[in-house]
């Protein structure tokens, strides 16, 4: 394609070098533009040709690994799935994911998020193990449909950047962790709801959510964490009522058999 004038787009990138800087600052770059480029492509151009010191996470380039989450024009987005043609000829600002400490440049410290994912017991818990000779645990398509959407999370952290409750108080378990919790509660092979109730029922659990719903808006995989958390509220409330109505030992017995 004959192009006399190379089109460029301006990037305003958040920089932070812990060894040298007390706080982040913005650095601007002129990046050659073509319509098929993603924001990540532009960042890679900057690193390869303009400023090798720029640090940012990326991997698959196909919105499945969850690495390249950034604040693009102040909105949490996946870098490889956000296209410059939707911003051109206006400027693009890129910053590290909000509500997390900034490690360096565009690299956020998401260790709190990872710890919360591990905390909610994200695995099948059985009260009674089946025998190997009986074969696998059966799951119908209808049973799969109850949790499949919530299993699509790529752990990108955009929902935590979006969630104002997490921004105000990072003790809140947050959208992805609570969705993963719901995913296991809804799995018919799992018998561990009672193990997850204490986390769910707490103020840092589902009750820390006020259904802002922004997490579901930004989710690149349409997991709909807001729906998962608020469905869990029903479960949590039911559990609370049952625990108050039933005699203590009956409730304990019931928890085990669920």
């Amino acid at each position: 394609m004959m192009n006399d004038t190379k089109q460029t787009i301006t990037y305003h990138v958040q920089r932070y070098r812990p060894e040298q800087d007390d706080k982040p600052f913005t650095q601007s770059y002129q990046v050659p533009y073509s319509p098929e480029m993603s924001v990540l492509d532009g960042l890679k151009y900057i690193k390869d040709h303009l400023d090798g010191s720029l640090s940012f996470r990326w991997s698959c380039q196909m919105a499945i690994c969850g690495s390249c989450g950034y604040m693009i024009n102040n909105i949490p987005k996946i870098g490889c799935k956000t296209f410059l043609r939707d911003y051109f000829p206006h400027d693009v600002s890129v910053a590290a994911l909000a509500n997390f400490p900034i490690e360096r440049d565009l690299v956020a410290d998401i260790s709190d998020f990872v710890e919360k994912l591990e905390e909610i017991k994200p695995y099948i818990i059985r009260e009674s193990e089946g025998e190997l000779v009986d074969g696998e645990y059966i799951q119908t398509p209808a049973q799969l449909a109850r949790y499949k959407q919530y299993s699509m999370c790529i752990n990108c952290g955009l929902c935590y950047a979006a969630c104002p409750q997490y921004g105000l108080n990072n003790k809140f378990l947050g959208p992805a962790a609570l969705t993963l919790l719901h995913r296991y509660n809804q799995d018919n092979r799992d018998q561990g709801k009672s193990h997850r109730y204490p986390m769910m029922n707490s103020e840092e659990g589902v009750w820390g959510c006020t259904f802002v719903g922004y997490c579901s808006e930004v989710c690149p995989k349409s997991v709909d964490p807001a729906a998962a958390i608020n469905q869990s509220k029903t479960l949590s409330a039911t559990d609370y009522v049952i625990s108050k109505v039933l005699p203590a030992d009956t409730y304990q017995q019931m928890k085990v058999s669920k």
Binding site: Q20, N74, P101, A142, V212, A226
Partner: protein, 144 residues
Amino acid sequence: MSEPALSGQSSKCPSSKRKPYTPEHSNTWWLKNPAYRFYMMREGSSVLVVYFSLLLLKGLFAVSQGEAAYNAWLGMLSQPLVIVLNIIALLAVMLHTSTWFKLAPKTMRIEIGNFVPSATFTTAVLWVKWFVITLLILGFAVLF
């Protein structure tokens, strides 16, 4: 390479150059993003819903006290300031209702046999119910 400033070194591990930066959380965080502004408007609409409920409750109480009290309440409603406030309250109630209808289906998973209605379907059902009930109430008010 020059030594970094001592204040920048992590006290837990002096050889580490890590110094994660936590941005200050501003009190006007909700002004910064259209999604947050909308959320605050949605939550704020509940205040006007309460106001209107109290107004209706006062009207009901006035009815129980006789014609004079009821006419006084109607008179209060005709004040220009009250009319303006009630128009704003109406808009707030509409926002409250439309966001409620949009969110409520997400809080439950409905399974009627093999039929699993989508959230959009359930929202539409809620609007239809609202419309029918509104017609019934208005019809009742007109006829009697």
